[in-house]
Every structure is written in C-alpha cells, then in structure tokens.
C-alpha cells in the first residue's frame, strides 16, 4: 500500500534540477509518446488508466480530453490549474516546489495528446516563489530541447508560460480561471459551452489540476492498464493527500487509493495520530468544501465497513453520513475544536471569496457568516440553527459555479452531525462568551453536559 509513483524520487537530492530529474528517468514519457504514439493513443491510454481529476471534482481525465473540439479550426490550449487555494489543500504547492519537472513533463505529454502548442500554468499570486521555481524548470526544459520547436526532433511544438493570479479562491474554478487569464475579474462563466468547446479566447481548452497532469507521466511510463490496476474500483492510481490540523505529522503523503482512513490517520507513516494524545472529533476529508464527518463516520461507514481513501468509499452514505474525496485536503479536529467557530470561519472564507455574480451566494454566504458570528459570540437564538439550514439549502444548486455548493455543504453537514453543539451555544451564551478560540470540550466537562 505504500507504493509511490508520483513522489518516487522526491527525496533524491537536487531532483528540482533538470539533470538530476533526467538521470532518474525523467522525460522518458515525452520521448516515448513523440516516438511511438499518436495524440489519440495518448488520450486512450489516459482513458484506460481511469485517472480522475485530482483538483476536487474527480471527473475522468481521458473523457474530458476527448470532449476537446478538434474541428473548430481554432488553436487549442492546455491550462494547468495551479490556483490551489482550497483550505486544507497544499499538495500542488509541494509537488511544484519539490519536483517541478514532473509537472512540465506531464504537460508536454498532455499538450501532445490535445495537439496544443501553447500551455499556461495559472499559479495563485501568493506562490511567487513557486513561479520562480517553475520558470527555472521551464528554462531548463527549453535549453534541453523538451520545450519550444520540434521537441526531441519531432514535429511537435509547445510553449509553456507561467501566469500569476492575484489572490482569488474563485479562480480555481476553471471558467473563472479562464476569465482571469484573459485579464478580467474572476467571474465564472455559464456552462455550456464547456471550455473543451469554448475556453480561453473562445478556443477549445482543457483545464487540468497540477496533480492530474503529473499523473499522466507514470500512466504513459507504466501503461494505462498497469496504472488502473493500482487502487480500488473506479478510484485508480495514487492520490496526494495533504494532512493538516491537530495531528502529529502534518504534510503531503502519496497514498494508494483504497488505504483505510484509520491507517492514514493513526499510522506513523502518515498522520501519526492526534496531537497531544487527544481524541479525534471530526475530519474534513477533501478540503473545506466537502461535508465534515464526526470521528465514528470518518473511520467507518454507516454500514460498519472500514472507510477507505477513495472517491467511492468516502462518498458512501451520500450526504447523510458520507463526504467526498475532493482535493485531498485532510483537516483533522481534536476534541477541543469548536464546530460552530469552525463553521463560522469557513463561511467567512466563502463570503470573502464569493465573486458576487449570483445573489444566493453573494448574499447567502454573508447572512450565514453573520448568523454564525452571532452564535459564536453568545447571542444566538434557537431558530438560527434552522435558519442556517434553510439558507444553505437555498444557495445549493442555485449558482453558476460550485462555490455556492461548497459554501452550503459544510454548514448543512456540521449542523447534521453536531447540532447539539449549536444548541449548546444558544443555551449557554455566558460560557460561550468566555471561551476564546475554541476549547469548548473543557467547559462541557466541567458543566457535565454532553455534546
């Protein structure tokens, strides 16, 4: 279960540089496809591999590529989405910082499959130093004949440019990213038309996450079928999990799909258990947008099976008792964490990051933030709890892009699983007012009230 295919060489000293990367088998997949494959064969190999988008949505990558409109006569574009800003997620940053050539290599192969001659990497503006690293890797790619004209003596040409964002979570949504790349506000577009038909500058475009593009490299090297044999069911291959919160070993881990959550959480190879020997209270398994689950439901499904790290297992039970793999941002909360405060915090995030186009999201996230703030300040009313559920329900599904859903799901789920904690906030405002920064459990114990 400990097999690494993306981060296999991550510990090799100097792997950031072209020479070391190359001498560890780097850029072999580029040579292979340019020599032996047609673009359609590369796409087919990715389809066989069962690779699904690693940015959060989990859409099959090969299928996405096959939607590309090749008959329009317009040039096609490949865009790498490196606008990683989902709270709890920091895997792409890790990958780009430590093994940037893996992304460049994956982009060349993917660009070939899509017959694109221009590719952009959209990096969030805060990651200036990552831009420096990527620009360096791209320069090395050019000087070694892997970028530019006639790559490796073939007819294929590709230019890759890094484009800096400027601090907007919404630009991680693919159509908002395209707007931003065109020099506009990051307002998501109405779909259809999908980017594969009308994307950047109205041309056919594929937008893929950093990890997705990197995964194309091992798929070509080992073959799609071999990649598909790793993992479990329709969750093939490996996933980068970024673990954070109240755990002993926060960091980025490559796990084979199908690893039990229990092992991921408690094994010293991964998270290493809860910090300070505390008890596990809740987990957000795939970035702040996915439903939060209490300890018993993240470790086992409602049917009593072990919960595994895979798209299907984490989603088992639907929104009643399940969650989603999302981006792999694994946030762990110990017994002291206050669920109301956390809900307020996340809602403030979505309110701040709403682009303002759709009223339900623009206004609804603000209302939820205010209600939660009121509750967290000890001024909540009992009907606020249902009010929150009602607002969340009215945002969900009523917006152009998924940010509305992403803001609504955490609220609906935290009230579903931790309703008593919200009631406690209403019933004992004096206690709530005196608690700073969480640590509610301590008070609950002294008051002998169970949550």
């Amino acid at each position: 279960m400990g097999r690494k295919i993306l981060l296999e060489h991550i510990d090799v000293p100097g792997i950031q540089s072209f020479d070391v990367y190359r001498s560890n088998g780097g850029y072999k997949s580029v040579e292979k496809v340019l020599k032996d494959y047609t673009p359609a064969q590369v796409t087919n190999e990715v389809k066989i591999s069962g690779l699904r988008g690693r940015g959060g949505a989990g859409f099959p990558t090969g299928l996405k590529w096959s939607f590309l409109d090749r008959k329009s006569g317009n040039p096609s574009y490949l865009i790498c989405n490196a606008d990683e800003s989902e709270p709890g997620t920091f895997k792409d940053r890790y990958l780009m910082e430590h093994i940037p050539h893996l992304l460049i290599e994956g982009m060349i192969v993917s660009g070939f499959a899509l017959e694109s001659n221009t590719a952009y990497i959209y990096v969030r503006g805060e990651f200036k130093y990552i831009i420096g690293i990527l620009n360096n890797a791209i320069r090395e790619g050019y000087s070694n004949g892997f970028l530019g004209k006639n790559i490796c003596g073939s007819n294929y040409n590709l230019d890759i440019y890094v484009h800096s964002g400027a601090g907007a979570y919404i630009c991680g949504e693919e159509t908002a990213l395209l707007e931003s790349l065109e020099g506009k506000r990051g307002n998501p577009r109405i779909k259809p038309p999908f980017p594969a038909v009308k994307g950047l500058y109205g041309c056919p475009t594929v937008v893929n996450n950093v990890e997705t593009l990197a995964a194309v490299v091992p798929i070509i090297n080992m073959g799609g079928a071999a990649y598909a044999s790793i993992g479990i069911g329709k969750s093939t291959g490996t996933k980068l999990m970024s673990a954070c919160g109240n755990i002993n070993n926060p960091g980025v881990y490559e796990v084979e799909m199908g690893l039990p959550v229990n092992e991921f959480l408690y094994s010293d190879k991964y998270c290493g258990g809860i910090r300070n020997n505390k008890k596990l209270k809740a987990v957000v398994a795939g970035g702040s947008s996915v439903p939060i689950l209490p300890a018993h439901l993240i470790l086992k499904t409602i049917a009593g099976d072990d919960r595994l790290i895979s798209y299907e297992s984490l989603a088992e039970g639907g929104f009643e008792s399940g969650t989603m793999l999302g981006s792999g941002g694994f946030i762990v909360y110990d017994e002291d964490a206050c669920m109301v405060r956390n809900a307020w915090n996340f809602t403030r995030f979505y309110h701040h990051e709403s682009c303002g186009q759709c009223s339900p999201c623009r206004e609804g996230t603000g209302w939820m933030e205010k209600v939660l703030h009121r509750m967290e300040s000890g001024l909540g009313r009992m009907h606020d709890i249902d009010l929150l559920v009602s607002i969340a329900g009215k945002i969900e599904g009523n917006t152009i892009c998924p940010l509305g859903d992403a803001a609504a799901w955490p609220i609906a789920s935290v009230i579903r699983h931790f309703r008593s904690e919200f009631e406690f906030h209403v019933n004992f405002p004096e206690i709530i007012k005196n608690i700073r920064h969480g640590s509610l459990e301590k008070y609950l114990k002294t008051e002998k009230i169970s949550v």
Partner: protein, 193 residues
C-alpha cells in the same frame, strides 16, 4: 465588496514619475508576447503586480491608468480587476505587508492568537500601518500552507510554523534592515514573471 475601495482622490503621491524603466518595459513587452496577438489584456494581472511593486507598493489611479495605456485597454477595465483581487492594494501600505492566514486549518493551530499577538506587538489593528511606515498588518484567507500552520506571508516570503518567539526575532531583524526603500530591482521582476 467594491464599496469605497477606489478612492479617486488618492493620486500618486510619491514624487516619482509613473513610468517603468526601459528594462522593465522590455519585460512587460515579453509578458505581452506570451499571449496571442490582440490578447494583450491577458497581461493585466502580471503587469499590475509589477506596477504595484515598482510604484510604491500600491496601485494609485495614476498607476492603473498607466497600466491601461501599456496593455491598450480602457482604464475602467483595470479598475475592475484591481478592485477584485485581494493582492492588489488600493491604499498605501508599509514596506512589509504582513498577511496572517486566518482560515480554518491555521485557526485551529493557533493562527488567531498570532494575529492578536502581532496587533499588540505592532500596536495597530488589522488593516493598519505602523507610524514608521514599516509594517502593514492584514488577515488573509488560506495561503495554501496548512501543513505548517500557523502561517503568514510577508511580501513574497512565506513564514511557517509560527511561534511568538519567532515573530519577535523576525520583526527585530526587519526593523534593523538598513535598506528600507520599496522599489525592487529588475531582477525581482525577472525571477517572478
């Protein structure tokens, strides 16, 4: 959201002409050439970043108008963008802009106390600048470094696994730096754009 963010009275105050050096202009042209012909508006975000660094750390109306002229768009198109993205500052900021992450994973690992500590230490509220013009304190949303929470960013640098002691050392070091000029060398632009 938009509110009164764009203050039309706030024109460029420093006695510095709003004009890039030849070296930077060459770089701007290179950036524009990354995009297909007629799509020079795509260079908006990178050029605004460079302009902000070059002209005193924030985007005055004069600076935005200058950027509009460089990429051949109407000034309003630049204002639209500058008011949307959180990394563009529309008011003067200190030499060091301290941006403390306040989002969930940082908050449960002590991020909230870090911000309070900095407010006490610098004797300013969030959003304000110290009277010596050195530090501006801001709270920002997720910086994407949750595994090393709590985290803050000062200008382009990330500072992770923060403790109060580390912050003390960091601030002292910054205060004693002799070079307090804001303008960056062309190398800075070369590295990041």
């Amino acid at each position: 959201m938009l509110g009164n963010k764009l203050n039309h009275k706030q024109y460029h105050k420093e006695n510095q002409p709003v004009q890039f050096s030849d070296e930077i202009l060459k770089k701007v042209e290179q950036i524009i050439n990354r995009y297909p012909e007629g799509r020079q508006k795509s260079a908006m975000l990178p050029v605004l970043h460079i302009a902000q660094e070059e002209f005193g750390g924030y985007l005055s109306v004069d600076v935005m108008d200058y950027v509009a002229s460089l990429i051949h768009v109407q000034p309003i198109e630049v204002y639209e963008v500058a008011t949307f993205y959180s990394q563009y500052y529309l008011e003067n900021v200190g030499k060091y802009v301290i941006e403390v992450c306040r989002t969930g994973p940082c908050a449960i690992c002590g991020g909230e106390t870090i911000s309070e500590y900095l407010q006490d230490k610098l004797n300013i509220n969030v959003g304000e600048t110290t009277t010596d013009g050195l530090f501006t304190l801001k709270e920002v949303e997720c910086l994407g470094a949750c595994g090393s929470a709590p985290v803050m960013q000062i200008n382009t640098e990330f500072y992770e696994n923060l403790t109060e002691d580390r912050i003390d050392i960091l601030l002292e070091e910054m205060k004693t730096r002799t070079d307090h000029s804001k303008s960056k060398e062309a190398r800075w632009v070369e590295k990041f754009f």
